[in-house]
Amino acid sequence: MASSSKRRVVVTGQGAVTSIGTSADAMWAGMREGRCGVGPLTGMSMEDLYIHIAGQIKDFDPRERCSHSKPLMLADRYSQFAGSAAIEAMSQAGFHGRVPDGHRAASIIGSGIGGLATIEKGYEDLFILKKKATHPLTLLRSIASSAAAHISIEYGIKGPCFGTVSACSTAAHAIGLTYQMIKSGMIDMGVAGGSEASVTYGSMRSWQAMRVLSPDGCYPFAKRRNGTVLSEGAGILVLEDLDYARARGASILAELKGFAMTSDAGDMVNPSVEGPTSAMQMALEDAGLASTEIDYINAHGTATTINDVNETRAIKAVFGTHAYKLSVSSTKSMHGHCLGAGGGVEAVASIMAIRDGFAPPTIGFDTPGDECDLDYTANEGRERIISYAMSNSFAFGGLNAVLVFGPAPI
């Protein structure tokens, strides 16, 4: 085995479930054409809801997508999204059935909140309907480590297995930690990412009460932006040590070059410029890249007034004049804010952007918002050579996680 300092981490599989496509390829096709997955909120009571839109996934049949696994078929929707994306990613990587050396493999799948629909149903049964018992699977469906566990069971993954929790940075933390474990020599491969299925009545009411949701749509960096839009989904990667992947004869999609995480230690909702800035700088250092080598940034870009200005300032602090040469976009404009899954979905978008030499757009962009003066790839995606792409995730609480991807090593 190569010494840990020389180990390189590559991506050999990717899977996604989003409101604009329920596979990585379908999602990417949606991004290429600027498809919008935000639509009228359905499937719940509208009582006292004044936000009536979300990025819900309406063409996901768990019996079809998780047909080989009865436990997954009975799991919470969040685990089913994760299972579907993991199966897609593992199949692409060439892992069918149990992995060759389970103790050298990891399953790190995070979620902002876990099985929220299950929790809400359990409380409705108990407190409203006064039922004698909750569904027997309420606990197992609820826990936010259940997706990671289901995937470890599915593939005989016997090494590190847990979920990360860091709100909107959850998936990026999961991917980053798996990368570090592979780099350190602890494991050879891992399934990593995030999943979220929290477009529920209770969640809509909680977000509505914070007054940060848009009633119209998700318009990052645009003048007309007036809040974010909740959505659901999953984004999952298969990461491997480069030599391990080559020995298996795996087809390599990209290299995960760098990762960094910082915390603002400032405020729950008002981000600092310094925290995201240092996370981006440290990720570049970890990748061994100069800032001028980055071509594309998949921004956190939530379409809240505060985030988009703050992120723009941080990008300028890191990249200086090169900031204006970058293609920046927020794909949340299309798939909405997938919360804990966001970093996974956006990692897939970043890898696809490198593969195709195509920066996906920020749709719904009218005119630039105040202080938003970068090239946000307005409304239409753009062909350009993308050697290195950065994916930003910044969460409530000031939790920042940044991933840097590059081309498959030759």
């Binding site: 007054r211 848009s214 007036n226 008002n270 505060i306």
Partner: protein, 89 residues
């Protein structure tokens, strides 16, 4: 001060770390170190206290929330509208 103003000032004070003894109507909310999340909590408290709904989005600058007095006026007009609607119904 009237009853609505009294209640609103006490809600503001409850949500401030070091509330001053007197909060004049012309005081800017910004000067009370009230930020977006504080304002969401304050609006919730006001809605709960008066049984009304106040349209408010933290992503938009709303003049109604510029000063203590403007909040009081907004709440009074919503209460009046509610009363008018109730009478017509």
């Amino acid at each position: 001060m009237d009853e609505v103003a009294d209640k609103i000032v006490s809600i503001l004070k409850k949500n401030m770390k070091n509330p001053p003894e007197h909060v004049p109507m012309e005081t800017k909310l910004a000067d009370l170190e009230i930020e977006s999340l504080d304002l969401a909590v304050i609006v919730f408290d006001i809605e709960d206290t008066f049984g009304i709904q106040i349209p408010y989005n933290a992503n938009e600058d709303v003049q109604d929330f510029a000063t203590v007095g403007s909040v009081v006026e907004r709440v009074k007009s919503i209460i009046a509208e509610k009363g008018a609607t109730g009478a017509a119904a």
